[in-house]
Symmetry: C2
DNA sequence: TCCATGTGTAACAATGCATGTTACGGAAAA
DNA sequence: TTTTCCGTAACATGCATTGTTACACATGGA
């Protein structure tokens, strides 16, 4: 299975933006994420469509938080980035009518559903404010990245 | 995140092999999985290295179960196919020294660890015999597929 | 009005991983 | 010796994320 670093990156950058408090350009955010501005716009655009951040074009434009860190959960960010389930069961569809295949798939699906429920429970109850608190507790420095 | 159908495929084929009771060639197993023999050898080879199946070369050779379905858990198969964790947190490593990135990663890692624990609990307590029972309950036919 | 500085988006290459496929070499039984 | 298997290397393929370039559009200031 392969990783998708977007959720981690967005948590990272959202906390930074909130701590910095103002407006940030894609260029500056790209530096925080060690990537380039297009990737930032692409990913932050999804968050904008879900009311987490706002963007402004033209000179003096950039990105700004729409809500406070208290009001954003990890699940909100996850939902903005991906629709559907987080974990995918990895079932097989070689012989859809085979009862053995169906039984194998159903067992895996049930297991993954249970794991996903656990994940959702944690995502839904973890706010970005808590991440900020952890970060500040481990290091007083804020604007660093 | 991306799918990996090997676990589902191996559960499928192992139950079939046990129900059929004898020895199967890569060719016949490939038909069960709607693929080709090389993929079967590649994947079953990992199970052989973990004592789940045995292989025999030459004329009349093929694959045979090393244990009964009661004695194989989903976790055993998972472990044979993949080393390490099942779910990967999808962390970021853009600025490893940044406390905000570290806090984000640690939250995600903790959440995934909890989800993985749930998954492991189910995998470890689900035997292939149970999958066979489910399959047989839904359809009396055994050798079909 | 012109220009500098932003976002928005299309288009494409690079990467990683599972999977599919062909082509061999080697082992064992008839 | 020939047939029938497995074992493996060496590719091609499909798909999703990420990186990159290019260009259209918006906005504020000189």
């Amino acid at each position: 299975m392969r990783s998708d670093g977007r959720l981690a990156r967005m948590l990272h950058v959202l906390v930074h933006m909130a701590l910095l408090g103002g407006k940030e350009t894609s260029e500056r955010i790209a530096q925080m994420l060690n990537t380039n501005p297009v990737v930032v716009r692409r990913t932050l655009g999804a968050l904008r469509d879900h009311g987490i951040v706002e963007s402004e074009g033209g000179r003096g434009g950039g990105w700004r938080m729409s809500r406070t860190l208290d009001d954003i959960t990890v699940l909100d960010v996850q939902r903005a980035l991906h629709k559907g389930t987080i974990l995918l069961p990895g079932v097989s569809s070689d012989h859809p009518s085979c009862p053995v295949e169906r039984a194998s798939n159903s067992v895996l699906e049930a297991a993954h559903a249970a794991a996903e429920a656990k994940l959702l429970e944690i995502y839904a109850t973890t706010t970005l404010a808590e991440i900020a608190r952890i970060a500040l507790a481990s290091n007083g420095e804020q604007a660093a990245n």
